[in-house]
Amino acid sequence: MYDVTIIGAGVVGTAIARELAKYDLKTVLVDKENDVSNGTTKANSAIVHAGFDCKPNTEKAKMNVRGNEMYEQMCKDLDVPFKKIGSFVVAFDEDDLTTLDKLKKQGEINGVPGLKILSKEEVEKREPNLSKDVIGALYAPSAGIVGSYELAIALAENAADNGVNILLNSPVTNIDKTAEGFQITAGKETLVSHFVINCAGVYADKINNFVNKPTFEILPFIGEYNLFDKSTGDFLNTIVFQAPSSKGKGVVSLPTVEGNFLIGPTSEGPKQPNDLKTSRNGLQELREKGAKVVPNFPFHKVITSFAGLRAKVAHNDFIIEESETANFINVAAIDSPGLTAAPAIAEKVMEMLKDKLVDLQANMTFVPTRRPVTRFMESSNEMKAELIGKDHRYGRVICRCENITEAEIVDMIHRHAGATTVDGVKRRIRAGAGRCQGGFCAPRVMEILARERNVDVLSIVKDKQDSYILTGETKATTVEFV
């Protein structure tokens, strides 16, 4: 019997799991996928927004600004890459300048600190690679970039370190309201729980409908992105948005926290919740819109394209509330700025639970930090020598593009919520995330995964459960030959 079952191990579900781990609660985090962070969280802009973009007094506005405040400490505790590099909204004409003023006022109402309108000259000084047609910008110093899936993985790991159970490969196919709470069918398991927290992303409406009337409908919108080679990572210093206008919303151009460069997203929908693919038109649109802001960008240095779905709803605000069925909390419609808002949402959900659990005790053994991640290449030469002295596997570089060592990969496999797939390794430690996209290292990463997990290499998948990489051995039959 669990106190709380969290459905969905994206950044929201994992943030809630970690928040709950601070209390004396028996919690299980359930996901249909074979890894945490495998839905919307793994494919978004990875921006920690300042919060000027949300309509005042919405859940979005409140959660965004509060979430932003919480990021620095959270990422420090969890050893997750986060850089507060600030953002620009750039204007190309007088109408855009008016928009900037509106955004600035809105941001100030929301409580966003340090907003400032910059002149053409100031913008040029800070960002010489921006289009010369930019005539001004709204600067938000509190915006930042983060490793979005690294964060969710770290949150899950820290939650598990502090006693939360994680149940993967377990799609929730039914929920029954019982006298004591809920009976949840999750994959092969049947869970019994007092509370259910629904963080199921683009599937949140379906989870809600197991026990409630269909009070909301998730509209999955697809966003496509291009990710560029690290040699382009310093093209901009700041996150650059285009001022939204009657002609539509532009794309965001930004350096990523790992040192790459990202342009995106497009926005199209509503789609089916599994309709995750890039399109020729989408990729064309990225290029055209991107070129408006960074006309001299080397677009040919793209290393991969990806698409993510956002869980939109018609009324365009987060749903963070108890449903008509008591003790069933919906945390739904968490589209942008959901990543930023995640820690604030977790805090709010915890407050809701505390109201219901008056005798709730703190978890006295809670440790807020996770075991630090050793990033071999970022270490000094002396440290490198010391690391290899301690564990010789730091001396074996597996990923040649990002210089990731065997010891780092092994570490990522054996942590709580550890890597079990090739992409799982990539998301945790970047092996295979470089310019060759795993061409050289995938065979060796598979070998390490198989060895460390004591499974046949044929069973190692790329990402999803059925995304098998190898179809069998060569040479089907064998006769011993002496």
Binding site: G395, T474, A476, F481
Partner: protein, 135 residues
Amino acid sequence: MSVTELICITCPIGCHLEVEKVINDDNETVSYIVRGNTCKRGEKYGIEEMTAPTRMVTSTVKVDGAHLSRIPVKTSKPIPKESIFECMKVINDVKIHAPVTCGDVIIENFLGLDINIIASRSMKKRTKVTETVNV
């Protein structure tokens, strides 16, 4: 009279050949005329390709006790083209043990063709320590 167009595969130049079949009054082939070749080997290829085409086969066989589980092999000479898949069957059924030296005969006189399957690289026996080798 009939002319067949071929691309010579003897070397990477890939000459475009025309091979003309010369037949007698009884409709029997008496000879071939090869045009477009830039060397003697091209002529030989053209005629062989019309009469008895052959191909080199390169593949792998299973190997035990080495750092890899497959070792590359090749036919010692080109084999009849129609025997390629039969050749693969024979190759697929074999497992050898390290150490192997490049050129070792893996299968002798297979399919009765007077052609051997030979190892196309050497492979040492795997030692316990497969760490960095400093020489």
